[in-house]
Symmetry: C2
């Protein structure tokens, strides 16, 4: 790596493993980040810590920052959101203790960590980092459209919040299990914490959206796969710009359409029906072919969490039949259908 | 307007008319902003001012800030870019003089005006504004996709930098000349200076791109037209995200495709051919119909500046014939063809 390259933009990179911070939160619904990390990245979670006796638990061993550091932890991750959106004084003292114990602080909260003088001072004192994962890396270049080496698969959706992140993580694990050299490329806050790296694509300035996606999945070996977490939907009137910049910059060879058959309307807006899987395939092919003319659909990831196993199997088969045999699977259920979807992506 | 509404995001609004500041620049190529303002908004330009005898002139009466203020000027616009990207000390003293004379400062330079302590101090002292038109308004909401009242026409392009701004300005003027109630909605720096208001769409965070376009062209009377300046191109691998967010949020009833027949490759990238006008019409119809199912193409604005009058006329006729009679005109040439394009937009 030469001096010039060191000045180029890189994805955020977190120091792992983590001590999960639960603050004084006593309602589990505010601790989704912590629970997601324990579910999806247990190897990254050394322990948990809270500032109050009645706080929620993520089921890990409770330990203070000094002990976590001695057990290998490198960052304290704020795994909860405060209902008022503020960081109370009791948290500040605890976070300073963590910095002084040698941990970075990682936060997905709205208020930047560096806006709190005590944290800024403690971080400087100990040479630790305050990492706001809502903040994209600096110096992101404008996209070039240049074809990069290596293979890429992107998860896209008929809507937001129906399984693009989980599908990408499950695909990544399936590739690793088969001995395929692969990286999970995270594009949202929780994904970045799980991966320990990534770029928050929704927080990037529009002019640099495609460029950020290019930085996220750089040139790689010819048989390497990047599994890229999708964002939004091309059919979402609020967020399609994010989805298109990510599609163009990712230049995927393969995409997987994520869909929830119980979702009828686009969430968060009024009067926009969820598009059909066929419409998403067709539009993704058309728009994605600008930067990768060989783009193809690997299959469908169906969120069947509302159904029992028998119903789910019937729905997946019916959907596959309707789509002329395209692989349809629920990664959360795994099994033969999911292996078939993985086969199709690698084909 | 109630208290709640006053807290909502609004487009940038500049205080007009302007004193154009030319600094010490002696090369006309660095004074494009000033020349563009004189060409397109002469009524907004009270005079010009420079800090050196050999500076370029925009052809206006030379006057200092105090005189400009007495003649009605309300802002000093920095009409030049410094080759090094810095604001030299001689400029700072001049800008402080303008603030003390009662003028706001308007800048499109990369470095924020507020990063210069002397300017910050002088602005506070006199209650004047430092307006960086690269900086979008705060509190832009997420797009809703809600259909708004009034009519909208958006200029789109086969590429960047081939006439979307000029086409929108010319359409706006033609509508006013016909007595149609209309606003020009600027989306780029020069357009914002010409209009005295607008939102720099390329500087908006991706998640809020469509929302910014919604703020830009709010509800209006049923027979009111917003003429919205397009940005980028859906076929540009660097900037399509900007174009799609602007398209979705603008929910145009009509779009005009801007094209330069001499342009063969997308500028700024390698290996991307300029799409055909038909491809742009087709994709704009398809993507735009998400937020306005009645979207239609009003015609084509052809940049014929490389051709003489006879050649231009032949090219425009051939293009219109090829497009089954769709109106094709060059707004810079005006005339009967352009009036036909305006008719088509209003139809």
């Amino acid at each position: 790596m030469n001096a010039f390259m060191r000045h180029e933009a890189e994805a955020l990179s977190l120091s792992t493993p983590y001590l999960l911070f639960l603050g004084d939160i006593d309602q589990p619904s505010y601790a989704k980040t912590a629970f997601g990390l324990v579910d999806w990245a247990p190897d990254l979670c050394v322990g948990e810590w809270s500032t109050a006796e009645g706080a929620v638990s993520a089921g890990l061993a409770r330990m203070d920052p000094a002990e976590a550091r001695s057990r290998g932890a490198r960052s304290l991750v704020i795994g909860v959101a405060n209902p008022g959106g503020v960081i109370p004084d009791t948290w500040v003292a605890a976070l300073v203790e963590a910095l002084d114990a040698g941990l970075d602080i990682v936060s997905g909260l709205h208020r930047p960590l560096s806006s709190i003088p005590e944290l800024e001072e403690a971080a400087r004192r100990g040479g630790r980092r305050l990492v706001d994962i809502r903040v994209p890396p600096k110096n992101i270049p404008v996209g070039t459209g240049r074809k990069r080496s290596g293979k890429r698969v992107l998860t896209v959706g008929t809507d937001c919040a129906l399984g693009k992140k989980y599908t990408a993580i499950a695909l990544h694990r399936a590739l690793l299990a088969r001995g395929v050299d692969a990286d999970f490329r995270a594009t949202g806050q929780t994904g970045i914490m799980i991966a320990g790296k990534g770029i928050p694509m929704d927080a990037v300035i529009s002019d640099f959206e495609a460029g950020a996606a290019e930085v996220l999945s750089p040139d790689a070996a010819a048989d390497h796969w990047d599994v890229i977490e999708g964002q939004g939907s091309l059919f979402n009137p609020s967020f399609a710009a994010v989805s298109l910049g990510l599609l163009h910059g990712s230049q995927p060879d393969v995409f997987v359409v994520c869909h929830d058959p119980t979702r009828k309307e686009i969430i968060g807006v009024e009067g926009f029906p969820v598009p059909s899987v066929e419409e998403v395939i067709d539009l993704t092919m058309r728009l994605g072919s600008l930067t990768n003319p060989k783009i193809r659909c690997g299959g469908v990831s169906l969120n069947t969490s509302s159904f029992d196993e028998g119903e789910a199997a019937r729905i997946m088969k019916a959907e596959s039949d309707r789509l002329h045999g395209l692989p349809v699977a629920d990664p959360m259920r795994g099994g033969r259908l999911f292996e078939r979807l993985v086969d199709s992506c690698l084909a």
